[in-house]
Amino acid sequence: MIVDARVYLGSSLFGYGQALPEILAKMERLGIDKSVLVPVKPRDYHLAPMNELVANSLRKHPDHFLGLCRVDPWQGEAALTEARRGFEEHGACGLYLDPWEENFQANDQILHPLLEEAERRKKPVVINAGHLRVSHPTQIRDMASRYPAVQFVACNGGQINISGMLLFEARRMLEACPNVAIETAGTYREDFIEEVVAEIGEERVLFASGSPIYDQEFEMARIRFAHLTDTQKQKLWAANALRLFEHRP
């Protein structure tokens, strides 16, 4: 079984995007059983209708999709209300926070009410990670240390720095915070994924493509060709994502 832990739905303000039929067709072609849908930030900046679009997609295709509720923490109380609506009405399996596109720092205190809500409801928080200035692994580590009962998922291996200068920081984040997992989309260096699996834990890594920002087929190759055992790969392909997103009490 293959679960893609991050697939964007909708037409983004930032020029990328894909509609549901396109996502389903690619899943069929590539053998992906289930995707975790994430709303894009649309041209009108309003995330709530995009969360509804994801919720409708889950209702139409419950076997194919899980969905994250995306909120902008700068919206304060309105963001908290939207997060609650996501959990209570839309069946969201977690929160999605994007410090890069919503322009906040991953360890800013404006996140506290949202993280407290996630903690109360035992829902994971997915953070678009690895962006210098806003979601550096040290910032995610700082926030994850403040909320040890919240399960965080750091996108992009926690680091997307092609000089390799964040590899050390991303690893230290994982060592310091057992409540942080990483997903593999766009990750710099496959040996980082292999090392994390071998030395930090095979439960701590999830396959994700980040499609369409990254190429879904190419991102699958990172797992397919990885120097890992079949058992380890099965955990990355699906078991870890299902454990974090589906089976939390």
Binding site: L132, N161, I162, S163, G186, D191, D215, F218
Partner: protein, 248 residues
């Protein structure tokens, strides 16, 4: 045939002995790889000799580039001359994020000019960090029109548009595919700059050469363009290099 234009062998920073890249080359069916350290000479003593020894141990598989710190001035130039004339090196690698020497600084230009005297290519780390941005390296390409300037990683995660833009602007700029995660950027580079100025590379062993080969194959190129990217272009560049050791 496949020649990998950017891989690493090192024992000073990260530990990657030559056997690691050879194993991954075998898995990926890569015939030859250009190797370099993760550290600069002459800052790290013995780094040039380490690459020379690796090439000597695997002469049919490995080709050496000298990674240098231009800030070391005449000392760097002397060592680069020795690398080219006595140790069989074929090119220069510059990583300005490490040595904080801007691509357009005179010390960098002097070293590029020296490499150009041997017709040796200059491979820059070209990503998202200060001093490695495509527009910054383009200043060196402008100042040294006879140099062959290779943009390693083609601008990384966030600067691929700039990399293609400067390659369109300067005919002495060559794009290289390693690490950056977008197969469609390779296709766009070939369409806009021409297949003759795009090189396959992996940045292995950290980035897996097999996955990096797969990425290039996903770009939807013609067979002829694929051959150009996989080996013809770099072979042509290396064939022009003049060193004490003759042609590779």
């Amino acid at each position: 045939m496949i020649i990998d234009s950017h891989t690493h062998v090192d024992r000073f920073g990260w530990y990657d002995p030559p056997e690691t890249i050879i194993r991954l080359m075998d898995e990926a069916e890569v015939d030859k790889s250009i190797i370099m350290t993760y550290v600069d000479a002459p800052d790290v003593k013995g780094s040039i000799e380490f690459i020379a020894e690796a090439v000597q141990k695997h002469p049919s598989r490995l080709i050496g580039y000298a990674r240098m710190n231009p800030r070391r001035g005449e000392e760097a130039q002397q060592l680069f001359r020795r690398a080219m004339e006595e140790l069989g090196f074929k090119g220069l690698k510059l990583h300005p994020a490490g040595n904080r020497c801007h691509p357009a600084r005179q010390e960098t230009i002097d070293l590029i000019s020296l490499a150009t005297n041997y017709n040796a290519p200059v491979l820059f780390h070209c990503g998202d960090e200060e001093f490695t941005l495509p527009l910054q390296i383009a200043e060196a390409a402008h100042a040294c029109p006879d140099a062959t300037i290779i943009l390693g990683h083609s601008g990384g995660y966030f600067h691929t548009k700039d990399a293609i833009r400067v390659a369109e602007r300067y005919p002495n700029i060559v794009l290289e595919t390693s690490g950056m995660p977008y197969p469609q950027v390779i296709r766009e580079a070939v369409e806009r700059v021409g297949a003759s100025r795009v090189l396959y590379a992996s940045d292995g062993p950290g980035c897996d050469p097999k996955i990096e080969v797969h990425k290039v194959k996903m770009a939807g190129l013609t067979t002829s363009d694929l051959e150009a990217v996989f080996y013809r272009n770099i072979k042509k560049i290396l064939d022009r290099v003049t060193t004490g050791r003759g042609k590779q």
